[in-house]
């Protein structure tokens, strides 16, 4: 009985989640510059309008920031996760607390304080500054994903490697890394998407080098550009779906057969 009520609730909840998201593709194919009902006909011309050099530059900027932030935060997350799961560090909780601290600070505060830093040091606003801000936001996520993965596989494998004469780094690269691969890929994807979609920090720090969300924000002010923005959103949605399905598959694989030797 109760299961049925819950199932009905779950369906309503899914509708609540999907209704706004489905509005984006709907109006991106609507042959009218006004985002309102009734629909007036089918067109793909808004997708043609995406061939815009400012948009493409913003896309390239977002890809560069996203890839750099994903690689760096995953690397930093990997080192820190290894340290806290494999060594009995003193001050372990303090270290984890510091690394997780950005989760407790509103993004706008991270954005403006980095803006102050860049301004005080006399540096130009740039994608590097945006990437640093994204690093702060992404490292806690990387760390959480990777700690779970480190805890998921058998420590004896590393000890066996050490007993067989490999030093710390060789063990790390030849035993730990391959076993960590699903976690590493999941961390890369999660942090990339987080950075790719991040707006508040990029808004303050990107200067003249707009990232994609900053570009979208600038376009939301012009009603005539809205259908084109919705077309862009539809494409982001389609690509994200592919990435998320891939990430979830990898993560799940990791969860289901973590005990290689146990």
């Amino acid at each position: 009985m109760k299961n049925r009520t819950l199932l009905v609730y779950a369906c309503f909840y899914l509708a609540f989640l999907y209704l706004p998201v489905l509005v984006l593709p709907l109006f991106s194919f609507n042959n009218s510059a006004f985002i309102a009902f009734p629909l007036t006909g089918f067109t793909t011309r808004w997708y043609g309008a995406l061939a815009d050099s400012a948009l493409q530059q913003a896309l390239v900027n977002s890809l560069r920031v996203g890839i750099a932030a994903a690689l760096l935060s995953t690397l930093l997350g990997l080192l820190a996760a290894k340290a806290v799961t494999r060594y009995r560090l003193k001050g372990r909780n303090a270290a984890l607390g510091l690394i997780s601290l950005p989760l407790f600070i509103p993004d706008i505060v991270l954005g403006i304080s980095l803006l102050l830093l860049v301004g005080t040091m006399g540096l130009p606003l740039s994608l590097v500054a945006v990437m640093l801000g994204h690093l702060l936001i992404c490292v806690p996520f990387s760390l959480a994903v990777l700690i779970a993965r480190f805890e998921g596989f058998d420590r004896n494998l590393e000890e066996a490697s050490a007993d067989l004469g490999e030093d710390g780094w060789m063990t790390f690269w030849r035993v730990t890394c391959p076993l960590m691969l699903p976690g590493i890929v999941a961390s890369l994807l999660l942090t990339f998407i987080t950075s790719f979609d991040e707006f508040l920090v990029a808004y303050f720090l990107s200067g003249t080098e707009a990232t994609l969300p900053v570009y979208i924000w600038s376009q939301l002010r012009f009603p005539a550009r809205l259908p084109m923005v919705l077309a862009l959103g539809t494409i982001i949605l389609a690509v994200s779906v592919v990435l998320v399905v891939l990430a979830e598959k990898l993560r799940n694989q990791g969860v289901k057969k973590p005990m290689v030797g146990a």
Partner: protein, 286 residues
């Protein structure tokens, strides 16, 4: 064997780069934020001396107090609504869904579209010529489009409850999934009814997920100026809108810095009190 002194040094060496990067990119900017908040603006630079006048302004002006109050209330409402709506959903997936993986994918897909566009979509839904008004007009239930749907704190809460849904569903799901099922059987065997069992076993054991979700939603919501600007209207403006303006149009960085620091402290205190209260309540139930 990994606990010897030399090995322990390896451990510290491993975590050092991460601590250094996070520490420096966090500490230096926040220190500068504090410095800036103790200055006053002159032209495009700061005056030489130190002053507490920004804090006097921030704490003294009624319009700021209203915005602080509204930000906290809206963020609290968003957190409450999002968690309350997500809990049964997560419960369903954890305990009753046959194909959990499929459900989790379905629940996370809407979350991975552009945040700005997810917020903007609600403008299309709640707007004058939007989905709801067109639907009601088409059904003949209303003669005039309803104008009260958009541009108020309510539309901000609805929009954000949607935008942050995944941040509630996933942590709650994870904590429900971790619950040892034999505890539930034990409770039933010892005579607890379904409701009593839920209140005494399931809910307390899932509290870490609920607390995590609440923090993950409450903190960023207080610092969001996008949603109030797109769907909030003048009556839905929040403190982040004013902070943003100080760093862009107005160009009063010291005031913006003081506003940001005060709201950061406020968020930290409220979040800390909430976590302490939730933990105490969980203990009391068990």
């Amino acid at each position: 064997m990994a606990d010897g002194g030399r090995n322990l040094r390896h451990g510290y060496a491993l975590i050092a780069p991460t601590l250094a990067v996070v520490g420096l990119t966090l500490a230096a900017p926040l220190a500068l934020l504090l410095v800036a908040s103790l200055k006053s603006q002159s032209g495009i630079g700061f005056e030489a001396g130190w002053t507490l006048s920004q804090y006097g302004d921030v704490l003294g002006r009624e319009s700021y107090r209203i915005l602080f109050g509204r930000s906290v209330l809206v963020a609290a409402a968003v957190t409450l609504v999002t968690v309350a709506l997500a809990y049964p959903m997560a419960y369903f997936v954890a305990f009753h869904a046959r194909r959990k993986f499929l459900w989790l994918i379905l629940l996370t897909i809407p979350f991975w579209t552009s945040y700005l566009l997810r917020v903007f979509a609600w403008k299309i839904i709640l707007g004058y010529g939007g989905v709801i008004n067109s639907g009601l007009l088409g059904l003949g239930l209303i003669d005039q489009p309803l104008s009260f749907l958009l541009y108020n704190p309510f539309s901000v809460v609805v929009t954000l409850a949607h935008a942050w849904a995944a941040f509630a569903i996933l942590p709650i799901y994870v904590s429900l999934e971790k619950i040892d099922r034999s505890l539930l059987e034990a409770a039933s065997d010892l005579g607890d009814g379904k409701l009593r069992r839920f209140l005494r076993i399931t809910l307390p054991l899932s509290m870490p997920g609920v607390i995590g979700a609440a923090i993950l939603i409450f903190v960023p919501t207080t610092g969001d100026f996008v949603t109030p600007e797109l769907v909030g209207g003048p009556a839905g403006a929040m403190i982040a809108n004013i902070i943003e303006m100080q760093f862009t149009q107005v160009g009063n960085w010291p005031l913006g810095a003081a506003l940001a620091l005060v709201s950061m402290m406020m968020v930290a205190v409220i979040a800390g009190l909430f976590v302490a209260a939730a933990r105490a309540a969980t203990k009391a139930v068990r």
